[in-house]
Structure formats: structure tokens, C-alpha cells
């Protein structure tokens, strides 16, 4: 199970809406308590592809985020990105570029602008498994 607080969800959603029509992206960090992953901080990073169909995290911002996580005693949990016009599910490219099977990959779909959908996935090669996400 992975938990995300409502304020961080809204932060992610607001950023994703503000970057339309491009994909938005970032990192998530937090703590691991038994089987549960608790997201304590959401990082909003620049999509260096500036594309509605692709994203790449800015390495400089990634480095700054990693340092910030360390400073605050958080561990990297994974990343998030938006799908402006497609569902909340990993695309073939998402799977191909998901190198870390330990990470959670959150995908925020804005396909229905009024009803965004956020799901979290673990990705193992070409297989993606949805994990329980609780927004509280």
C-alpha cells in the first residue's frame, strides 16, 4: 500500500494542470513502514522533453531533490508523471524506461479534465502491477 496526503495530491494535480498540454513529472519521497510506503514529500520537476507525449526528469533538479530527501531523512519512493490525454496506466515506453522494480510509479491521468485519475504501479520488465493507493 502507498499513501499520499490530500495536500500533496492537490500540489501534483495543480502542477500537472499548469503544465498542460505537456506532461508533468516529479519525484516522490517518504518513509517505509513495514509493507506501507508513506509519501511525505512530492517534488515537482521540469519535464526537459517539454512534450505532451514524453517526459524526462531534469538531472540537476533530480540531484537537488535527492539531497533534500537525505537532509530530511526521507527515502526515494519513486516518481510521478501525468498523462494529459491518455489513461492512468503505464505505456509501453513507461515500462521500457522503468528501470527500478522497487520504485512506485504514479501516473496522473487528465484525460477527463474534470475527473483526474491517479494510480500507482510497480513495474517489472514488461509487466505492471497496480498497487493500492490511499489518498487521505
Amino acid at each position: 500500500m502507498i499513501k499520499l496526503n490530500r495536500a500533496d495530491y492537490e500540489k501534483m494535480l495543480s502542477h500537472a494542470r499548469s503544465t498542460l498540454p505537456e506532461e508533468a513529472c516529479g519525484l516522490i519521497a517518504g518513509t517505509v513502514e513495514g509493507e506501507d510506503r508513506i509519501i511525505r514529500k512530492v517534488y515537482l520537476l521540469t519535464n526537459t522533453d517539454h512534450s505532451p507525449e514524453h517526459f524526462s526528469l531534469d538531472p540537476k533538479e533530480q540531484l537537488a531533490a535527492i539531497k533534500d530527501m537525505r537532509l530530511h531523512g526521507l527515502v526515494p519512493i519513486g516518481n510521478w508523471h501525468s498523462h494529459p490525454d491518455t489513461p492512468s496506466r503505464p505505456s509501453d515506453e513507461d515500462k521500457r524506461l522503468a528501470y527500478d522494480s522497487r520504485a512506485s510509479y504514479l501516473i496522473l491521468s487528465l484525460m477527463d479534465r474534470e475527473h483526474p485519475v491517479l494510480h500507482s504501479f510497480r513495474i517489472f520488465g514488461t509487466d505492471a502491477e497496480k498497487e493500492e493507493l490511499i489518498i487521505h
Partner: protein
């Protein structure tokens, strides 16, 4: 010499290169790793020729990206 790797202090042999450190650390998918030394990014083509020095701080960053 002592260097810091991903926030942890580590003793390594003198004149260790970035490429050797990647191998020593058993970095997964090294072809997709970006390395910074003292906050400066090292081009992947320079991994073999870039020697580390006592007190250096090294970070490994994994490429993260995707598409629709």
C-alpha cells in the same frame, strides 16, 4: 582515500575512476546512470578517464522518463 558516495562515506583505492566506482558499487543499468562529482555532471564518455580524489562527493542518478 575517503570519498562520499550517495551520501555515505567510503574508503576507496587512490586514483579510482568513475567507471571503476560504478563497477565497484555494482550500479544497476549503468548505461542509464548519470554521475555527478562535487555537483558537476560527468559525461558518460569520460567515466573511464575521470579520476576521483580524496574528499570527492559522488552521486548516481538514474534516468527517469517515459511516454504516453
Amino acid at each position: 582515500m575517503i570519498i562520499t558516495v550517495s551520501g555515505k562515506s567510503k574508503e576507496v583505492q587512490d586514483n579510482l575512476t568513475v567507471a571503476q566506482l560504478i563497477a565497484e558499487e555494482q550500479v544497476e543499468t549503468p548505461e542509464y546512470v548519470t554521475v555527478s562529482v562535487n555537483d558537476t555532471f560527468v559525461e558518460s564518455g569520460a567515466f573511464k578517464s575521470t579520476k576521483l580524489h580524496d574528499g570527492d562527493t559522488v552521486e548516481f542518478l538514474y534516468f527517469m522518463g517515459g511516454g504516453r
